[in-house]
């Protein structure tokens, strides 16, 4: 293997979230020079020098396969077809869904589905080329989040036969039937959507997923949902204001501009602590659906993350953790941060594709995560 190969592999490992200090790279190069020049030997040399725990070995294995199959992956990208018509059709579907939901009082408000080619539907955001990316962005812009509702103090007339008796309406209508109250009228509490708080990890490995999620947040904000968004890198940055502009591209640029550390390391525990202190426990997270996007690779202490997650879980209605790595073959949440956070999470879902964002919508709307349909890049390669 040449030096370029080494650099490629190391870059891929770093993108996947493995900390590879320069000292380890030097060791790796030295080790490769000492063993045979075949794939197995290079594999073991890399493993002994670059991975330092079972979790890291798991990640190393995935990335190594990815690296060896690199050329095939480039070839396996399938073309995308535009689907403008489908989007229009689905806008109609949304309208009728909203009509339905006005009639039927449920916690699970129907969410917009959108059609597109299967490939783009399930493709990993990190694997998209520029054209596909643009198409995916456009599709995200059409997505709608309807958060699960909570009862407010206000009451309004209801068609249900149970609930608090609406005496005024019952009497008024009974006048028409000669004073006989044929039908009891009831009152229902008004329901208001819960606030959705999105905290997106923007460290190197998460960048492309976070961008998509923030676009998703933008779509939600412009549709009038109560959404707050934060970017979490080496610091925590509130992006809500940036996401309320009309033009998603400008909003994204402004969001990127106001975040200084698009690809530094993450200190999850510290960041979530900052959120708790400055916003969360003061009311923003109270009763809210908190969506955290991260691979769970925390550069800080796992104990801190656990205690901050616990604080958050005490005020939030629901914590949804979106982990793009969950879509990769055989992923078990072994990252230390992920393991520390897990006990406080209500829903654990992937966030690597349009499909996955769709599932996120379902979860935010009050449904459970639906079964996984999509395949990761690696799995697709194996199929080919």
């Amino acid at each position: 293997m040449n030096d370029e190969g080494v650099i490629d592999l190391v870059a891929l490992l770093r993108t996947a979230g493995l900390a590879v200090p320069i000292g380890s790279v030097i060791s790796f190069v030295e080790a490769v020079g000492l063993v045979n020049n075949d794939v197995r030997s290079v594999y073991w040399a890399g493993r002994a020098t670059l991975a330092h725990s079972p979790a890291e070995i798991e990640l190393y294995d995935l990335v190594f396969r990815h690296w060896i199959l690199g050329t095939e992956i480039a070839l396996s990208q399938s073309p995308i077809t535009k689907s403008d018509q489908a989007i229009i059709a689905d806008d109609e579907a949304l309208d009728s869904a909203q009509k339905d939901s006005a009639d039927v009082e449920t916690d699970d408000v129907a969410v917009l589905r959108f059609s597109r080619t299967e490939t783009l539907h399930s493709a990993d955001f990190a694997s998209l080329n520029d054209d596909e990316r643009a198409e995916a962005d456009r599709l995200i812009a059409t997505m709608r989040i309807s958060a699960v509702t909570r009862a407010s103090r206000r009451r309004r007339p209801s068609r249900r036969s149970y609930g608090t008796l609406d005496l005024r309406r019952t009497i008024r209508e009974s006048l028409r039937t000669g004073g006989e109250p044929l039908q009891l009228r009831t009152l229902q509490r008004t329901r208001v959507p819960r606030r959705v708080v999105i905290i997106a990890d923007i460290s190197g490995s998460m960048a492309s997923y976070s961008r998509s999620l923030l676009r998703y947040a933008h779509a939600a904000v412009s549709a009038g949902a109560k959404v707050e968004a934060f970017a979490l890198g080496t610091r925590l940055t509130r992006l809500t204001r940036e996401l309320s502009t009309r033009d998603p591209d400008k909003a994204m640029q402004r969001a990127a501009g106001s975040v200084e550390d698009w690809s530094g390391g993450t200190r999850l525990g510290e960041g979530i602590g900052r959120f708790n202190d400055e916003w969360g426990t003061k009311g923003m997270a109270r009763g809210a659906i908190v969506v955290i996007l991260s691979d769970g690779w925390d550069r800080g202490e796992p104990e801190l993350l656990a205690s901050e997650m616990e604080r958050l879980s005490r005020v939030a209605h629901k914590i949804v953790w979106v982990n793009p790595l969950k879509a990769t073959d055989g992923y078990a949440p072994l990252a230390r941060g992920m393991a520390a956070a897990l006990p406080f999470i209500d829903e654990f879902i992937e966030g690597h594709s349009l499909d996955a964002l769709d599932r996120l919508s379902a979860v935010v709307a009050g449904g459970g995560a639906r079964p996984v349909r999509s395949m990761s890049v690696l799995q697709r390669v194996e199929v080919n």
């Binding site: 060791s27 040399a45 002994a48 020098t49 991975a51 725990s53």
Partner: protein, 313 residues
């Protein structure tokens, strides 16, 4: 302060020169290593870096160091870690009782009054130094690199790790009263951990790393046959298969290789050349050490386990 020993050099003539040589060399000394472990060992030897071995208890981590010592001819120096292990136990200590005796003797001889400094110098000389494993491993008495085994590091405290990192980084130890001790031949360092807690990143980075898995059945059969020469091959095979199955049923303490060996030994001593339900039931204690685990195995069904192991033949 004077340096006590000469410059660093390593006697490397006896070291393996390829991964394959490591495999063969270990096998000659009774240890069956797979390619991954052999590569990690080969690289650690060649790159003169400590090797951190992590894995479940009983997968053969400690045995690696013992076998390496047999293979290279380097003396095995073992530091067993435990909670509260400190520098005095790991590195060196002054022999206070003997120092005191010496002082009394000097007093009796009347030499103290005249030259306090000289007496003090004498007290803090190598005569009264107790060398613990870490200092011993870098002492200049070794012609062949010793194998320093730091066993079950996860049992020691964090502070000990920090201290160990320092010693490993320097390959030298400074004793204020005596000066700096530096290895003539740098030791081969094997660190093991059962991973009851995480070893610090800084220490990990200094080491090459290998996660030791339970051997696959073929390797385990080979291990058993080499360790229990009198055992029937059929028995070794059946027991290895049965143990592999036991590792998957969620026992509190899954059996390691040592338990497989013990079990085959016990059954062989009882005159068995094959397993059957009665003998497995009677000797279960050799392989599962907790009552809860034994209950679990019985609930799982011994006859089903035995059937499966017999069928594989």
């Amino acid at each position: 302060m004077k340096p006590l020993t000469g410059s660093l050099s390593t006697v490397s003539s006896s070291l393996p020169t390829s991964v394959q040589e490591v495999v063969v060399g270990l096998a000659d000394n009774g240890y069956m290593a797979d390619e991954g472990l052999a590569t990690a060992i080969f690289l650690a030897l060649s790159m003169k870096r400590p090797l951190l071995l992590e894995g479940e208890p009983g997968v053969g981590k400690t045995e690696v160091a013992k076998t390496l010592s047999a293979l290279t001819g380097g003396e095995l120096i073992r530091l067993q870690c435990y909670e509260g292990l400190d520098a005095a136990q790991a590195l060196y200590e002054w022999d206070y009782p003997r120092q005191l005796l010496h002082l009394r003797a000097a007093e009796a001889a009347g030499t103290i009054g005249s030259d306090v400094a000289a007496v003090e110098n004498e007290l803090y000389s190598e005569r009264f130094l107790i060398r613990r494993p870490l200092l011993d491993a870098i002492s200049d008495r070794h012609e062949v690199a010793p194998v320093l085994l730091i066993d079950e590091l996860d049992r020691a405290d964090d502070e000990f790790e920090a201290f160990l990192l320092e010693v490993l980084a320097e390959n030298a130890v400074t004793i204020p009263e005596l000066g700096t001790f530096r290895a003539k031949v740098s030791p081969i360092v094997i660190i093991t951990s059962n991973r009851t807690r995480d070893v610090h990143d800084a220490l990990k980075r200094r080491c090459l790393y290998h996660w030791v898995e339970h051997p696959d059945s073929e390797r385990e059969i080979a291990i058993v046959c080499s360790r229990v020469p009198g055992a029937s091959h059929v028995l070794a095979r059946q027991v290895a298969l049965l143990v592999a199955e036991l590792r998957t049923i969620g026992l509190f303490k899954p059996p390691g290789v040592a338990e497989t060996i013990d079990w085959v030994m016990a059954l062989t001593a009882l005159g068995h050349t094959e397993i059957d339900v009665a003998s497995v039931d009677a000797s279960l204690g050799a392989v599962v050490k907790y009552r809860e685990d034994a209950d679990r195995v019985r609930a799982h069904g011994i006859s089903a386990l035995v059937d499966a192991a017999q069928r594989e033949n």
